[in-house]
Each structure stands twice: as structure tokens, then as C-alpha cells.
């Protein structure tokens, strides 16, 4: 069993909680897509990258935008180029439709000769129907290019990691097929571990102070956008570069702009600091 399970243990630069590790391993073992949700900046996208590097598999990314259509992920038939070639280019090649078919990220993942990790990033950015349109392909892991009649089937089911920011409700039929994990905001202990991975030379006292300020800031009521892991790491980086000694700072948090991203939040925090 252990060769199927427990393949993913996190990597040197990515600390995963036990729950997350378990969810990833379940998804890998059952060959189902893993749907990861959580606050922005908790490392959803990084998970796929680190999963790929931990399992030594190539990673194919599909960044979903508001205009992305499900079919684009499989393939795109560049009709305009073909039209152009038929008029101005070498007419001999125009008959070969395959020349104008470009595989999308999902298509590439299915056509790959060996197992790959496919990241479908921020799936909720696209239209509401987008996940539904992917159902069949994700189920059977094969598709047909209508224009050429070519059938592409995955040699080995790719590991699919899907991230979502909770912007939209995903359709039930889609959810049923996924393994779901919600990345909780890291606890203080886990956060200390994560910071150490990124800043190995940080001293205990500085780390303690930084975490104190950071979690204090997150606890401020009425923040529009709470600072997250990635912002904490950037902030510590800024502190180090500027040579600020946190243990000696009094009153106010230095480089607040790296932690808070809206004017109102900065105002709220500075008002509370004065009070």
C-alpha cells in the first residue's frame, strides 16, 4: 500500500500540514482531481509545483481567466491562420488541418507520454459553466479532436490539482468528482516552520517578534484583506533587506504596505495603534 500512498510528504521549501498531505495522497491514490480552496496567499498554487517536484513529474499549468473556455484547454483550432494561409501562404499545407490544431494545457497533459501533474489554477475565475464543460474529459481522461477525428487518451491518468478562491460556487456534479481540501490558515507553530524554510537564518527572537506583530495584525477587527503567508514572507524579506531590528522597533509596524493592501486597512490599523 505504501507505494501507492504517502507519496507526497511536502518538500524542503514547502511545509504541508498533515491534513493537506493526507488529502493530496488520497487524491493521488484514487486518481481523482484534488480541489484546493483557501484564503489567497496560503500556497494553493505552490502546492502543485511542489507536488510535481516531489514526485519528479513534469508540471503543466493552466491559468484560468475570466474569458477562458473549457474547449481552449483541450485544443484550439486556429481558423484565422488557416484562412490567412489559404489566401497568402503556401496553399499546399492548408489541407492538413492538424497543422492548425494547437493543444491546450489539458490536451497536452492527456497527450503526454507519461504521468504529469496538471494545475488548473483559479478555476472559479471562468464562467459558471466552465467546470461542467470539463466533467467528461476529467472523468475519462480522453477527448476527440472533431476537426481531424484524432482521439487523444491519457497514457497514465495525470494528477490534477485545481485551485479556487471561493469566488463562485462550483457546480455539484463537478464537486462530486473531486477530492476536496480547504487550506486552513497556518497555526503559529506551522507558520514559524514555514518562515524558517524561507528565511533559514532568522533568529528566534526576531521570528517571535515578527509573528507576534503579524498575528496581532490579523486579529485586528474589520480588516478588508487580512495579510497572509506570502505577505508575511515578503515582509520579513523587506525587514532583512532594510536591516530593521524588530526587537528595537517601538510604535507602529515598519513596512506596513507589504502587509496591508488597501488604504482603509492601513487607516484602521493606524487608528487602533494611536488609541
Amino acid at each position: 500500500m505504501s507505494d501507492v500512498f504517502d507519496q507526497f510528504q511536502g518538500t524542503a521549501s514547502y511545509i504541508a500540514s498533515d491534513e493537506l498531505r493526507h488529502a493530496v495522497n488520497v487524491a493521488v491514490a484514487l486518481a481523482r482531481p484534488l480541489l484546493v480552496r483557501g484564503e489567497p496567499g496560503t500556497g494553493k498554487t505552490l502546492l502543485a509545483e511542489n507536488l510535481a517536484s516531489a514526485l519528479h513529474l513534469p508540471l503543466i499549468r493552466w491559468h484560468v481567466k475570466s474569458t477562458t473556455k473549457a474547449k481552449d484547454g483541450l485544443y484550439v483550432y486556429d481558423t484565422v491562420a488557416r484562412l490567412h494561409d489559404s489566401r497568402f501562404g503556401d496553399a499546399a499545407n492548408v489541407r492538413d488541418i492538424a497543422r492548425y490544431i494547437k493543444l491546450g494545457p489539458l490536451g497536452e497533459a492527456l497527450a503526454a507520454p507519461s504521468r504529469v501533474v496538471l494545475l488548473i489554477d483559479e478555476i472559479d475565475k471562468a464562467d459558471l459553466e466552465f467546470p461542467n464543460d470539463l466533467l467528461h474529459e476529467l472523468d475519462v481522461m480522453r477527448f476527440r479532436i472533431d476537426e481531424t477525428g484524432r482521439e487523444i487518451a491519457a497514457a497514465e491518468r495525470p494528477i490534477v490539482v485545481i485551485t479556487s478562491n471561493n469566488e463562485k460556487e462550483l457546480p455539484d456534479a463537478f464537486l462530486r468528482r473531486c477530492v476536496f481540501h480547504y487550506i486552513q490558515f497556518p497555526s503559529r507553530e506551522l507558520m514559524a516552520e514555514i518562515v524558517r524554510v524561507h528565511h533559514p537564518d532568522i533568529t528566534d527572537r526576531v521570528l517571535d517578534n515578527a509573528l507576534e506583530m503579524f498575528f496581532g495584525l490579523r486579529a485586528t477587527p474589520r480588516l478588508r484583506k487580512k495579510p497572509s503567508t506570502s505577505e508575511l514572507i515578503d515582509w520579513i524579506c523587506a525587514l532583512k533587506k532594510a536591516g530593521v531590528d524588530l526587537t528595537r522597533v517601538s510604535g507602529g509596524i515598519p513596512f506596513l504596505g507589504t502587509l496591508l493592501k488597501t488604504e482603509q486597512d492601513v487607516e484602521t490599523v493606524s487608528k487602533r495603534a494611536k488609541a
Binding site: M1, V4, F5, E19, H22, A23, N25, V26, A27, A29, L30, R32, L35, R37, T79, V80, L83, H84, S86, R87, N166, E167, K168, E169, L170, D172, L175, R176, R177, C178, V179, F180, H181, Y182, Q184, R222, R224
Partner: protein, 407 residues
């Protein structure tokens, strides 16, 4: 045996399907639950619960179903028994403690523990009775009782503990709303249509035109899809709405974010709508409702937000406006009816919890406007109603006491 758990989950409105249950069985056949309750808790949650809002209900179901299993498992743990049979640090006890120690034999202690485990509902620190931390009770962790049973603490937590913490309570759907959640819910209102400058290539049309031109390429553009929904938001401020001010400001922030709707306007009213609504929350710039109606298309979506709570006279009496600036001739009820009649789709969102609705003016207003509580669920249903129409929620019948009021 586990099939009961499936129905336990379903009875708590967790939409677990056969599909997912089969996946769970497959996972257990593969040994993915690592033959432990903790592993099962994780496995079942990742496969069957797909929404953070439902995690809390899952925790509840898990607690309810596996509570006794846990106690049984504890009873069977030989390690625990061996551990209890051989208490450490006996040497340093005072005479008094030694006496106390003898008074509690292991069997009794264990019985007590199970009994407490059943009785105890929450976390407990300090004190001398419950299972907790930092106390002198015989049970718990980090405590001072020399003959105590240590429960949990350090080295990994059990699924029951995790479930018992109910960490996901705040994500429940029927409670709070933040700006983002409202934003997401309002997104359901959008209806896309092609409008504006022609900047997107219309492929089908291009191919068609080009063919008609016998191969001479003619490129056709079309306008991109844009949201065409128009929203009119009327909000009650001041007075009885003060406790809801924070929620209202979140609602407003979310609704007014630029680019969400083709047209978005918002006005304020106090208590009830009379002959005017106001552009500002200080009620200085008024706009007669008649003008508002004249300047509004009938396909705009009217969203009213307010607690709909007032003295019945303020709603039904033709001169009932308690508010100085609006000397009205028609009753508030009448003005609301005019608003509701003008717009094809209108909904009322009420921040007042639903259990307080009956026997108040809320029932009267809910018979004019389709009304939902201002929770994530309510908002979602209101949006669905505004877009697709459908049944209005049933609220109690106000006619009985209304008649008594008028006569």
C-alpha cells in the same frame, strides 16, 4: 454499519451522493484511512464534503455518530490501562495525597472518566472536575493531580478532538456575511449581453462573410459580452437599523463595487418609504418616489434592505411618518406597494433574524415584497428569485392582527 453514517450526514443536509460514498469505500479498500478513526475522519471529509461551509455540520455529525465508539475504543486500549496501572512519580507524594490516591482505584477512575467524557461539552482549563488542562482534576493534560489520567496533549490530536473543536463554525452558511461573500452572491445577478464598442473577433461571422466573398477575407467584429443588469438599492438607515449598521455598510460596499452592474443606484430611507427617498444617509437631498419611479426602467432589479420593523401606525396610517421631514399623505404601506408594482422583480432583505418576524410589521411588508433574511443563504435565494422568478417565501399571515389594528 457505515451506511448509517451516510444517512447521519445526509440528515444534516450534507449533499453526499452515492458516487462519493463509493469513492469512500474504494478509498477504505485501499487502506487510505490508515485503519484509524482519525484517518477516516480525514478521508471521509476530503471525499464527501466539498464546501467549507459544511465542515461544521460534518463535525457535528461525526461527533454524534462516533461518540460512543470513541469511549469503547478507550476502554479497549490496553496501553492506557497499563499506563494507569503504573502511575509515575509516586515517591514524592505527601501523606495526604497518598490517601487521596488510594481512594480512587483504576476501575473507578476509568468509569468516572467515561462519565465525564459523556457529560462534558466543551473545553476546560483549570478547576478540579472536568477533563481539561492545567487543573487538578484527575483527567486531562498539563495538570497537577498526581494520579491523573492524561488525555490528549502533545503528539497528535485525535479526530474526536478535532471534530469537537468545531473550528469551522464561522464558515457556516446561515450566519455572518462579509463583503466578499455578499459580492460573490450578488455576482449571481449578472446577465451577460453584447453591448458597446465592437472589439471582439466574431469568428463564425468572419468565416461566413469570407465564404460569401469567395475567399476574400472580411473580418467581422462584435462587441464583447457585458453585464446588463441594473440594480436599484434602497436601504433603511438609523433608528432600529443602528445595530445592523456594520452589516449594511458591507452590503453597500459589495453592491457598489464598480463594474459589477450596468447601472447601479442606491438611496436611503428611514423606517419605511414614504413620499421621498434620500441620496444621503443624513436625509438632506431628497428625491420624490414618484420621480424615482419615472426615472427607472421596469426591468431594473429593486433590492430593499431594512428591518421592516416599526409601529404598525407608521406603516398603515396615511399620516404615520414619525420622521419629521416626510409629511406623507399616502401610507407607507401604499408607497411600498407602488414601488413593488413598478418593478418586475423586487426583493427585500431583512437583517432581523427570521425567528423574530412573526406578529410584527415584517409580516405586512413581506406580503408586499418577497422577503429573505440577510444571510448568505437568504441572499442567494433572493438573487435567484430576482433572476429567475419563482415562488416567494411564505411568511405568516398578517391579516388577522392588521384588521384589528385598522379598526
Amino acid at each position: 454499519m457505515l451506511i448509517d453514517f451516510l444517512f447521519e450526514l445526509r440528515s444534516r443536509k450534507l449533499p453526499v451522493s452515492t458516487h462519493e460514498w463509493m469513492a469512500l469505500m474504494e478509498g477504505m479498500a485501499l487502506g487510505l484511512h490508515e485503519s484509524s478513526l482519525d484517518g477516516f475522519y480525514q478521508l471521509c471529509r476530503t471525499l464527501c464534503v466539498k464546501d467549507i461551509a459544511l465542515y461544521d455540520a460534518y463535525d457535528e455529525a461525526f461527533l454524534a455518530y462516533f461518540k460512543d465508539v470513541h469511549v469503547d475504543a478507550l476502554r479497549l486500549t490496553e496501553q492506557l490501562a497499563a499506563w494507569l496501572a503504573n502511575p509515575r512519580a509516586l515517591d514524592g507524594l505527601t501523606e495526604e495525597q497518598r490517601k487521596a490516591l488510594q481512594s480512587l482505584d483504576i476501575e473507578k477512575l476509568r468509569q468516572l472518566f467515561e462519565q465525564r467524557l459523556k457529560e462534558q461539552k466543551g473545553r476546560h482549563d483549570g478547576g478540579n472536575r472536568w477533563i481539561g488542562t492545567g487543573g487538578t482534576s484527575p483527567f486531562g493534560t498539563g495538570g497537577k493531580n498526581p494520579n491523573a489520567m492524561r488525555v490528549g496533549g502533545g503528539g497528535g490530536r485525535s479526530a474526536m478532538q478535532v471534530a469537537d473543536e468545531r473550528r469551522f463554525r464561522e464558515y457556516r452558511r446561515d450566519v455572518v456575511l462579509d463583503v466578499r461573500q455578499i459580492d460573490v452572491a450578488l455576482r449571481g445577478l449578472r446577465r451577460l449581453g453584447r453591448e458597446g464598442a465592437q472589439e471582439e473577433l466574431d469568428l463564425d461571422e468572419t468565416v461566413d462573410k469570407t465564404c460569401r466573398n469567395a475567399g476574400e477575407i472580411e473580418v467581422v467584429f462584435r462587441p464583447p459580452r457585458r453585464n446588463r443588469v441594473k440594480v436599484l438599492l434602497l436601504m433603511d438607515v438609523g433608528g432600529s437599523m443602528d445595530p445592523h449598521a456594520e452589516l449594511m455598510s458591507r452590503m453597500f460596499t459589495a453592491a457598489s463595487r464598480t463594474g459589477r452592474f450596468a447601472k447601479f443606484r442606491s438611496y436611503y430611507f428611514h423606517n419605511c418609504v414614504y413620499n421621498s427617498v434620500y441620496e444621503d444617509a443624513q436625509f438632506r437631498k431628497g428625491l420624490p418616489v414618484a420621480d424615482l419611479l419615472a426615472g427607472s426602467d421596469r426591468d431594473e432589479k429593486l433590492v430593499m434592505v431594512g428591518d421592516a420593523l416599526m409601529h404598525p401606525g407608521e406603516l398603515l396610517d396615511p399620516s404615520g411618518a414619525s420622521f419629521l421631514y416626510s409629511q406623507n399623505r399616502a401610507s407607507g404601506h401604499e408607497w411600498l406597494r407602488r414601488l413593488a408594482a413598478h418593478f418586475r422583480s423586487a426583493a427585500w432583505l431583512n437583517p432581523e433574524p427570521e425567528r423574530f418576524w412573526s406578529g410584527t410589521t415584517i409580516e405586512v411588508i413581506a406580503s408586499v415584497f418577497a422577503m429573505w433574511p440577510l444571510t448568505l443563504d437568504g441572499l442567494g435565494q433572493a438573487v435567484r428569485y430576482l433572476v429567475r422568478g419563482g415562488e416567494r417565501p411564505r411568511v405568516g399571515d398578517p391579516s388577522r392582527w392588521m384588521k384589528a389594528m385598522v379598526s
